[in-house]
């Protein structure tokens, strides 16, 4: 069972703070990490390989510094790591990104493609289903469990909605988008880390390695544009007071009465 896992290097947005005076982002010192949903997807792929055989390829599109994350994917156990990097990809929106990644996947042997549900920097959740459409394969989003059938011709997936879940069976090849609950990522063993840095390599692919019309890549291939970005309006804070027990409760009740909630 051969699996391609799409991963993205993202800033750890839980570490980002807003400057309280200017309202701008403080990006200095924010670490880059493998997107959590993608990491769960990679872990799930590795467990499937350990049980059913096959190989796992980690695939990403990004700047050269994303090679560090690709090494981490190798250290976790991926057999291959391919980083798509090229100026031709710059300015890609989700449609252009998915076109490039789908073109790379066409070059690979796969039964299942796994992407994270969404990346914590963009939060779009769009690239996975868009890749599936380009590849003309079915997709199941929001996957929380993956179980192959006896004959390995299909997988049964727990697909989560707001108030319910469904067990869905899909024929291979297919694309699944992973929730972070899909699989808790493993700890890295020092031996694997050593191998990933010393013995294994990250393959760098450019647009020339893909059979694709350049018009669908990068800014040219992106129907959407960012017109502007701005910090979120901040509302002025109310009183902050140090109180315990009875006095604190009285302050809360006063506030509720002032606002006619009581």
């Amino acid at each position: 069972m051969n699996i391609v896992v799409c991963i993205k290097q993202v800033p750890d947005t839980t570490e980002v703070r807003l400057d309280p005076v200017t309202g701008t982002l403080i990006r200095d010192g924010v670490p880059s990490i493998m997107n959590p949903d993608d990491k769960a997807g990679l872990e799930a792929a590795l467990r499937l390989r350990e049980k059913y055989g096959g190989h796992v390829t980690a695939l990403s599109m990004g700047p050269p510094q994303a090679a560090t994350m690709m090494r981490e994917a190798l250290a976790m156990g991926a057999d291959r790591a391919i980083l798509l990097g090229d100026r031709a990809f710059a300015g890609s929106d989700t449609l252009a990104t998915s076109s490039a990644i789908a073109a790379a996947i066409r070059k690979l042997d796969y039964d299942i493609v796994i992407t994270g549900r969404q990346a914590i920097d963009g939060d779009t959740a769009q690239v996975g289903p868009q890749i599936a459409e380009h590849l003309s394969i079915p997709n199941i989003s929001y996957a929380q469990e993956i179980t192959p059938s006896e004959d390995r011709a299909s997988v049964t997936v727990k697909r989560v909605f707001d108030d319910r879940y469904q067990m869905q069976r899909v024929k291979l090849p297919c694309l699944l988008t992973a929730l972070s609950e899909l699989a808790e990522p493993r700890y890295l063993s020092p031996g694997r880390v050593f191998d990933a840095w010393r013995e294994m390599k990250v393959e760098n692919w450019t647009s020339a390695d893909l059979d694709i019309n350049p018009a669908v890549l990068g800014l040219k291939g992106s129907p959407t544009r960012v017109k502007k970005s701005f910090p979120k309006a901040v509302k002025p804070a109310g009183a902050v007071i140090r109180l315990e027990g009875r006095e604190a409760a009285e302050a809360v009740l006063r506030k509720l009465k002032e606002n006619f909630i009581l």
Binding site: T94, P138, K228, E244
Partner: protein, 336 residues
């Protein structure tokens, strides 16, 4: 796509999500928002409803602002399935050429809309919290939080149609219900064999939870500072006294103290109750993004530097174990 072709695309279309034969709330919210935009752009509102013919909610959609309802019919469209629904909407777009096409940013809309946008090769903006028509160009300005809610970005799709967006549930306002008629158009859809690649084996409802957190007028919400699942007991009691229900931060959900359907924030739900009491919640930006529109925010946290105090109308620097039992007692006397 040439500029001439762009002029052929007209009207604001809304995908209506049906849940167990009922129009999902987000569909009514989108109709309200589409109506507001249509007024600004001198346009009209069309509701797109895929279905198997068993439920046709024409009156309800007209009452909430649809000028026209397009029913896309095939036996395979009874329950949501990615490929058959993509096929139905593809047909509607090709025949009716919408200028704008809106979806709820739900677990269904966020699966269907990207698949459809790739098929149509047009732009899609995810999880919008603000929509406006730009006066000069007539383009849709789609504003959404990015970077974990730290930053807002306004996106345009100027040279492709339809302009597609998913819109965050709970943010837009539904219109007042009115007595109105909509034009009805029923379109049969053919679904090819290849679209039946996914089979639904079983549907399991989550255990019935208390009041939905998006509908509650009062939310008493707990975070890591509640220290244990048992800590939420007193929050339940306080919520009951105030006629509300409990919610939680991601930390409390990740710790397994509360189910996912209680989670407020970027990866949970967006809420705007009249009153939000945050107990032992530090107020990570991801959490704040989901509750900052609440009417009154009261925060109780022992760390005076907790960011939650930055958006609270009243901040109590104190220990939840000291404040909450006393708050419960005083509420009991006040509401007795």
């Amino acid at each position: 796509m040439s500029l001439e072709n762009i002029k052929d695309y007209k009207g604001i279309f809304v995908f209506i999500e049906m849940t167990d034969g009922e129009v999902a709330d987000v569909g009514l919210e989108l109709l309200g928002e589409a109506g507001r935009l249509a007024k600004a752009a001198a346009s009209t509102v069309t509701a797109l409803v895929p279905g198997d013919g068993s439920v046709k909610p024409y009156e309800k959609l007209a009452a909430y602002g649809a000028d026209r309802v397009v029913y896309l019919q095939n036996p395979a469209l009874g329950a949501y399935a990615t490929l058959p629904y993509t096929r139905a909407l593809q047909k509607a777009v090709e025949e009716l050429k919408p200028e704008i096409l809106l979806f709820g940013a739900s677990p269904i809309g966020r699966d269907l809309a990207p698949r459809l946008s790739a098929r149509l090769r047009t732009g899609l903006t995810a999880d919008c919290t603000g929509l406006e028509i730009e006066a000069a160009s007539g383009n849709l300005l789609m504003t959404r939080p990015a970077f974990g809610g730290n930053l807002m970005a306004t996106i345009v799709c100027g040279e492709h149609r339809p302009q597609m967006a998913t819109v965050r549930p709970g943010v837009m306002q539904r219109a007042a219900k009115k007595d109105a008629q909509a034009e009805i158009l029923e379109i049969p859809v053919e679904i090819p064999e290849e679209d039946f690649a996914v089979e639904i084996l079983e549907t399991v409802m989550n255990p019935p939870s208390k009041l939905n957190i998006r509908e509650a007028k009062v939310l008493v919400s707990g975070g890591r500072g509640m220290a244990s699942p048992e800590g939420f007991g007193i929050l339940e009691e306080i919520a009951a006294l105030l006629g509300g229900t409990i919610a939680s931060s991601r930390a409390a959900v990740d710790a397994g103290w509360q189910p996912k359907d209680r989670q407020v924030g970027q990866t949970g739900q967006t809420v705007r109750p009249d009153l939000y009491i945050a107990c032992g919640i530090s107020g990570a930006i991801q959490h704040v993004a989901g509750m900052e529109e609440s009417g009154i925010i009261i925060a109780i946290n022992k760390d005076e530097n907790a960011p939650i105090f930055g958006i609270a109308d009243l901040g109590i620097v104190g220990n939840v174990n000291s404040v909450l039992p006393e708050l419960k007692r005083q509420l009991e006397s006040a509401t007795a």
